[in-house]
C-alpha cells in the first residue's frame, strides 16, 4: 500500500505528541502493523527514513510490531493455525466457515523522545 503517506501520518501524530509534551527529538516510535493491513513493514521503514532525513528526528527508529490475523472455526470456536503467508478458506477439520480476529491493526502505540530541556545544550537541527 502507500507506505509513504502512512509514514507521513505517523510522523505528524508523533510530532504533535512531542510538541504537546514539551518538545524534543524523536528517538523511537512503536507501531502495530496487522497482517491484513496491506502494509509492507520494510517499505514503511524506508519511508520513515526518507521522511525524517534532514529533520531533528533523523536517525529515529520505527519499531514495527507485527500483529497476525487469527482464524477461528465458527463451529467449535478453536483457532485454526496455518503456515505464514497462507490463508484458510474453511476449517481444515470440519470444513465449516471461519471467522477472522485481528490483523487489521495500524496504530501508533508509543514513542520515546529526548526532551530538549533534558538534553541541556542540545540544539534543534
Amino acid at each position: 500500500m502507500h507506505e509513504m503517506s502512512l509514514a507521513i501520518s505517523i510522523y505528524e501524530t508523533c510530532r504533535n505528541a512531542v510538541r504537546d509534551a514539551g518538545e524534543g527529538r524523536l528517538e523511537s516510535v512503536k507501531v502495530a502493523v496487522g497482517e491484513l493491513s496491506a502494509v509492507e513493514p520494510e517499505l514503511l521503514e524506508f519511508a520513515w527514513e526518507a521522511i525524517t532525513k534532514d529533520t531533528e528526528d533523523e536517525g529515529s527508529r520505527l519499531e514495527i510490531e507485527w500483529r497476525p490475523a487469527r482464524q477461528y472455526c465458527t463451529h467449535c470456536g478453536h483457532e485454526k493455525p496455518r503456515p505464514s503467508d497462507s490463508w484458510l478458506m474453511f476449517c481444515p477439520d470440519c470444513t465449516q466457515p471461519l471467522r477472522v480476529d485481528g490483523g487489521y491493526e495500524l496504530d501508533v502505540l508509543q514513542l520515546r523522545y529526548l526532551a530538549y530541556d533534558e538534553a541541556g545544550g542540545a540544539e534543534e537541527a
Binding site: 500500500m1 502507500h2 503517506s5 495500524l106 496504530d107 502505540l109 529526548l114 526532551a115 533534558e118
Partner: protein
Amino acid sequence: MKTVDVRKKVLADNEAAATELRERFGQSKTLVLNLISSPGSGKTTLLEATAGALKERFKLGALEGDIATERDADRLRDMGIPARQIVTGGACHLDARQIRKELEAGNFDGLDILFIENVGNLVCPASYDLGEDFKVVLLTVTEGDD
C-alpha cells in the same frame, strides 16, 4: 529519555471524518455506495446503466475519483446527474476528508442515493471508510478467477 503512550490509529483522522459523514447521510436519509474495482472494469459504465434506470424515481448524485481525468464525471453529467470529479493527482484511493470537502463545495443536498466511484484500485480503497452504507466491488472475467 521520555516515553509517551500515543495509542492512536494511523487512519484516525479518516475514521473521524467517515463517522461524521455517516451521521450526516443518516440524517439526510441518503443511501451511499462506494464502488471499487480495478481500472477499466466498468465502474462508470455500471454507474451509467444504474443511473439511467433510477434517475426518474430518485434524486441521484455522484462523486467520481480518478488519478488524472475528468471523463467519469462528464459521462454522468451528460445524463443530467449532478456529479463532481475528484482528481487525486497520484493518491491511489479516496479519503473521507476529500468526500467531506466535495460535499461542502457542491450542491448535493437532499439526495436519495449518492454514488462514490473510487479510484481504480482493489487494495487501498478497501481500508478507507468513506461513510458509505455499502461497498460494491466489481470484478471482471478477464482478470482471472483466482
